[in-house]
């Protein structure tokens, strides 16, 4: 075997993901064509943007010098609504999702219950909170009660799915040990399944509490009560200093919730 006359003097990094050269070329051309089409279809009214820059500046000033005082009554009412909505909806949502989660676990439930529960989960996960909120507001009237229902409904899909997946992954030998003592189905759930999934269920509930607070800040925009409604009003009135204050409060509460829930989860597990 003859040696090649010349070794390449430079090294090129081999491609990592799409290894076929033709595919790579096609992909690159496709991306460029798409970008041209997409950017072309975005109409921007630059004079409006330019006018808005001044407002943007005012907003940033409002963010840096938030005004908590002048709208404090509205803000505190929105906060109370948001926080109470968060807690009640998480408690109710988790309480409902436990039986649904057990029903959606293939190793505990008969087939027909399994399909019903999985269908409930799919419906609850498919629609966004805000769309559900629109419907609940139309049905139950404005206010935090509609928000509470929305968040509870969304919680069911989240907790029940993760709980069901967790139950399906439990250590079967422990379940078998309990079963071999002649335990009934209830005893099986209580002594074999529950101790194994409880830490995770508590962790998930705390995580969902955190998510529900964030969502409660949003669904107010469509009239479901909470701090989102206050924020919407503040922005509509161009009171950017109050809006900045509300956003800072939301960020602070989310940060506190995130850190304390991750601390609690570590403590519990």
């Amino acid at each position: 075997m003859s040696a090649p006359d010349q070794y390449p003097s430079t090294w090129r990094r081999p491609p990592q993901i799409v290894t076929d050269r033709r595919w790579r070329l096609a992909l690159q051309i496709g991306i460029v064509v798409y970008l041209v089409l997409a950017i072309g279809s975005v109409e921007v009214n630059w004079s409006r943007v330019y006018e808005g820059l001044e407002r943007g500046q005012r907003f940033i000033m409002g963010f840096l010098q938030p005004d908590f005082a002048s709208r404090w009554r509205d803000i505190s009412q929105g906060l109370v609504e948001s926080l109470t909505m968060t807690l009640t909806s998480t408690v109710v949502g988790v309480a409902i999702s436990v039986p649904i989660g057990i029903g959606a676990a293939r190793n505990l439930a008969p087939r027909w219950i399994y399909y019903i529960c999985r269908a409930i989960i799919a419906v609850s996960r498919a629609l966004q909170e805000i769309i559900i909120a629109i419907f609940f507001v139309a049905m139950f009237g404005f206010g935090p009660f509609a928000g509470f229902l929305t968040l509870s409904f969304a919680t069911i899909g989240f907790i029940a799915k993760l709980l069901a997946d967790d139950i399906e992954e439990i250590d079967e030998t422990q379940a078998e040990a309990i079963r071999s003592t002649g335990a009934s189905w209830w005893q099986l759930v209580n002594y074999a399944v529950q101790p194994q999934v409880m830490p995770r269920l508590i962790g998930l509930s705390l995580y969902r509490l955190d998510i529900n607070f964030r969502e409660s800040a949003v669904i107010g925009i469509v009239g479901a009560g909470g701090i989102g409604a206050t924020l919407n009003t503040a922005i509509d009135r161009y009171e950017y200093d109050s809006a900045g204050a509300i956003l800072l409060i939301i960020i602070a509460i989310v940060m506190v919730a995130e850190y304390s829930s991750s601390y609690l989860r570590k403590f519990l597990q």
Binding site: R48, R55, I130, G143, I221, Y238, V254
Partner: protein, 270 residues
């Protein structure tokens, strides 16, 4: 040695003290729940709640049959929605990469100043929902696609930044050391030591976020930021429930499709 004088006749899961604590905890939770419930429902008008089933039946009756003639009108907003999500994701990812490198412990240029700033950017972006970003941006730069794209981009920074910086922190130090041992400069270490390691995670995260962004961009129109949400808002305002059901079905189909695409791509990469 002391003699054990009492054997418990019945086995129990927990000691009495633990049981008491547990009951106390549950009691506190129930009390808190009841208190919150009362506080929340101070202004609830129960007449409307009692009336809800009738309202639901009424809306349901108006929603079927869906008005399919409305469907062709939705194609342009749908294209806009996909553009908002895609361009927003691209913008967000571009902004998130430097933030992630600043936030990762092993690549941050200064752990005392830049890292906390980067972490704050991530938390701030994550805690404000894209709808709120859109609300602000519509007020600032006016209604339209641009507000939606920027809102999606700002919201994506936190998500992509957080996952990416965790991926950077989890890189294998040995490979980086091997590159350093060849006398590579800082930029070369980044390029040949870290980037190849995080590449699959990077694409996976981006596609995952794109999928979430499709979902979120469908509703941005509710506050005027363009896309199919504008049509939804218009139909809701005119109480055209038969059009609403067409829009919702279309949104549902888009979301399911994008989820499928994202799952396939992530499966292929990782």
């Amino acid at each position: 040695m002391t003699e054990i004088t009492h054997y418990s006749q019945v086995w129990t899961h927990r000691t009495p003290r633990k049981r008491l604590l547990l009951w106390g905890g549950w009691l506190a939770l129930v009390a808190l729940f009841v208190w919150c419930w009362q506080l929340m429902n101070e202004n609830t008008i129960w007449f409307f709640v009692a009336d809800a089933p009738r309202q639901a039946a009424d809306i349901g009756g108006r929603m079927v049959p869906p008005r399919w003639e409305y469907f062709p009108e939705l194609m342009q907003p749908l294209w806009d929605t996909i553009n908002i999500a895609t361009l927003g994701t691209i913008g967000g990812v571009i902004m998130a990469v430097p933030v992630a490198f600043m936030a990762a412990r092993n690549t941050t240029p200064s752990a005392t100043i830049l890292r906390p700033i980067a972490l704050f950017i991530i938390v701030a972006s994550r805690s404000i929902n894209s709808l709120i970003w859109a609300l602000l941006l519509v007020a600032i730069i006016g209604p339209g696609l641009l507000a939606g794209i920027v809102a999606i981009a700002l919201r994506s920074i936190g998500f992509v930044g957080k996952l990416l910086y965790e991926a950077i922190e989890e890189t294998d130090a040995k490979q980086i050391e091997a590159i350093q041992a060849t006398g590579a400069s800082g930029a070369q270490v980044l390029n040949y030591g870290i980037v190849p390691q995080i590449m699959p995670a990077f694409w996976g995260i981006s596609v995952f976020r794109w999928d979430i962004n499709i979902r979120e961009s469908t509703i941005l129109g509710l506050v005027g930021a363009g896309g199919i949400g504008l049509k939804l808002q218009a139909s809701l305002n005119t109480l055209a429930w038969s059009q609403v059901s067409v829009i919702l079905l279309l949104i549902l189909a888009t979301v399911v499709l994008s989820e499928w695409v994202s799952a396939r791509v992530r499966h292929a990469i990782i």
